[in-house]
């Protein structure tokens, strides 16, 4: 016999699943652009959760007021909030991608560990202190390979 699975349960599971997939993606990816995409997935999950919070299965869309009798309406507040959250999310994604473009221009890579390594080197260099080298690199401080010119765009690259 089929277990009794309601549509609502499936949707809630989907929402939590999307959030988990997104968070796992952020943690596990090695590429910065994938991390940004994973963040988008997690945001979609949170938005779905918010829509579900106010949804009623026996009700109509909150703009259908001309139906004669007044049937119960879906709570419009979470939908308005989700709209706001989506707009914010898109804005932040756009900002993230534009920052990624700058990083690619300056460092010639979007690999997370390489970007972090170059950032640490640059911070240490500006402060004129030796770089913190982890136990995993027993040879001590090694110079970072120079960024190949072919990967760096000149426009906005070295300004």
């Amino acid at each position: 016999m089929m277990p009794d699975i309601s549509l609502e349960l499936i949707l809630y599971t989907t929402a939590l699943g999307l959030i988990s997939i997104g968070l796992a993606g952020v943690v596990l990816s090695r590429h910065l652009f994938r991390m940004v995409l994973a963040l988008g997935i997690a945001e979609a999950g949170a938005n779905l959760m918010l829509v579900l919070a106010g949804y009623r299965w026996d009700a109509v869309a909150p703009i259908l007021t001309t139906l004669g009798e007044h049937p119960p309406m879906v709570d419009p507040v979470p939908q308005a909030m989700v709209l706001t959250a989506i707009v914010i999310g898109v804005g932040i994604q756009a900002l993230a991608v534009s920052i990624l473009i700058r990083i690619r221009q300056r460092y010639g890579t979007l690999d997370r560990s390489q970007v972090v390594e170059r950032m640490d080197a640059e911070i240490a260099d500006t402060a004129s202190i030796p770089r913190d080298v982890s136990q995993e690199s027993p040879l001590g401080e090694r110079p970072l390979p120079s960024i190949p010119d072919s990967t760096v765009e000149i426009r906005g690259g070295h300004s």
Binding site: M49, A53, I103
Partner: protein, 490 residues
């Protein structure tokens, strides 16, 4: 006129979008817009305070009474924070004129507007929107402030902050699905019945971690050292001094009004203790001044979280004392780091080059460590007495860690002070040593004067904070003010 209170929120927002257009036609006019708006904001908020408008009051926006509409809730605490936002915005104003001026100043105005909103808003989703606005403005300011490393630290902050906002949104969705409202006063009314359960606890913890990203809470604070090391000192000072405190204010409101579960408080206490340990030890090990200050800021915020976990009015008093003390000190110290940002070793003998800066540094250090009669002593003393009055062993662990952290703090701050006053290295003439720039030094001196003034008038300041804490801790007052008082206003 209490309606004027929206202006410090609306005018910077308006100015932020107007500024790039005005800057195109005339830079000299545009350069005055921002400071003028912020000065006016300071004046309005200060006027509210002095003219003795009955606090707290609530202002329904757009004519919809809460809980349906969104309201601003203005009590002494919100007013104090809003005033601090406008004032610090003015002090840390990016005056520098170059190609990026319009963008930088517009972002700064946006940051001030959103921060004021965080201080005043009385609606959870509204708070979330302002929180995201703060985030966007922050990312822009960090990325605009330096070289390639600033971009890298901005994107890492952005991703962590994105995780935080997903979690916050999840928590908001959970609260809404349970109660059907997001007005803080209405939630406070419903919370004892509807949120005093596992779902409420889950919602609080997700929001705690989510908002904790900005409040430098223990596991989600990896962005702090990178960002403060790469952003300009003014941006770092504003972030460390104020924005972290505003995130803390959200948590404080939620804790006082809605979530009273002991588990919630315990989690916060543990995270605070871990924050103190990790932050102070890392600060002790840091080799450059900016990152030392960044890690020390994590430790200080951890102490405030420990104070926040004390469920009485006295705990709230300790929170406020530590918060405003840290606001003064860390902003001032980051202004000093404007010229002294590099390696600590390089500062050997720098006191001869700039005696005033060194003296201010020692003043700030002593207060941060908690030397009487400086205000830092009273802030820490309040926390210690409150912690010692608790019976649960966890609080005693907190007390121990807190005292140990103070010793570590003294070690690294006084080590730097000794370097400053020590003899300069032989091969470097005094003239080549680093020195904080004039404007930064003046700003730092202002914070120093503020600190000394607080030390002189410690009794009235203490009374004031006690009054503010009492008002903020009064849940019934909040509910009655918002839900009864605003029927037809505005």
């Amino acid at each position: 006129m209490s309606d004027l209170i929206v202006l410090p929120l609306v005018l910077p927002l308006f100015g932020a979008f107007l500024l790039p257009i005005v800057m195109r036609t005339s830079i000299s006019i545009g350069a005055w817009i921002g400071p003028a708006i912020l000065a006016y904001g300071c004046w309005i908020l200060g006027d509210q305070w002095i003219s003795g408008t009955t606090l707290p009051f609530s202002l329904a926006i757009g004519g919809f009474a809460p809980p349906m509409g969104i309201n601003l809730y203005i009590d002494s605490l919100a007013l104090l924070f809003a005033f601090a936002v406008q004032l610090l915005g003015l002090l840390f104003w990016p005056f520098k004129i170059d190609q990026e001026t319009a963008r930088r100043q517009a972002l700064m105005l946006l940051l001030v507007a959103a921060s004021t909103g965080l201080a005043l808003s009385g609606d959870l989703f509204n708070l979330y929107v302002f929180y995201e606005l703060v985030a966007v403005a922050t990312f822009g300011l960090i990325a605009a402030s330096g070289g390639s490393a600033a971009y890298a630290s901005a994107i890492r902050y952005l991703i962590l902050s994105g995780i935080g906002s997903v979690l916050t949104l999840l928590g908001i969705a959970l609260i809404y699905s349970q109660t059907g409202t997001l007005n803080l006063a209405h939630l406070a009314q419903l919370a004892p019945e509807q949120l005093n359960n596992k779902l409420g606890l889950t919602a609080f913890l997700t929001i705690l971690i989510g908002v904790g990203v900005k409040a430098e809470l223990f596991p989600v604070n990896t962005w702090v050292p990178e960002v403060y090391a790469t952003a300009t000192s003014r941006v770092s000072a504003f972030l460390a001094g104020l924005v972290s405190k505003l995130a803390l204010l959200i948590i404080l409101r939620l804790l006082v009004l809605i979530f009273h579960q002991p588990e919630a408080i315990q989690v916060m206490l543990v995270l605070g203790i871990l924050g103190v340990i990790s932050g102070e030890l890392a600060a002790w090990r840091a080799k450059d001044m900016r990152r030392m200050l960044a890690f020390s800021s994590i430790g200080q915020l951890g102490m405030i979280f420990i104070a926040l976990a004390i469920p009485e009015q006295g705990g709230l008093l300790a929170v406020l004392a530590l918060t405003f003390h840290h606001l003064l000190i860390k902003s001032g110290l980051f202004m000093l780091a404007d010229g002294w940002g590099g390696a600590i070793e390089k500062l050997r003998g720098a006191a001869k080059r700039s005696p005033l800066a060194a003296a201010i540094f020692v003043l700030f250090s002593l207060s941060l460590i908690g030397m009487p009669p400086l205000p830092g002593f009273w802030a820490k003393f309040t926390l210690i007495t409150q912690l010692a009055a608790q019976t649960s062993p966890l609080y005693l662990i907190g007390l121990t860690v807190f005292l140990l952290a103070t010793v570590i703090e003294a070690a690294y701050l006084l080590r730097l002070a000794a370097l400053l006053y020590g003899p300069a290295a032989k091969d470097t003439p005094i003239d080549t040593l680093a020195k904080p720039a004039g404007l930064s030094l003046a700003t730092a001196s202002l914070f120093g004067i503020g600190l000394l003034a607080a030390a002189l008038f410690i009794a009235p300041v203490g009374d004031l904070l006690n009054h503010v804490a009492g008002q903020a801790a009064n849940t019934d007052l909040y509910i009655n003010t918002v839900l009864a008082g605003t029927g037809g206003s505005q």
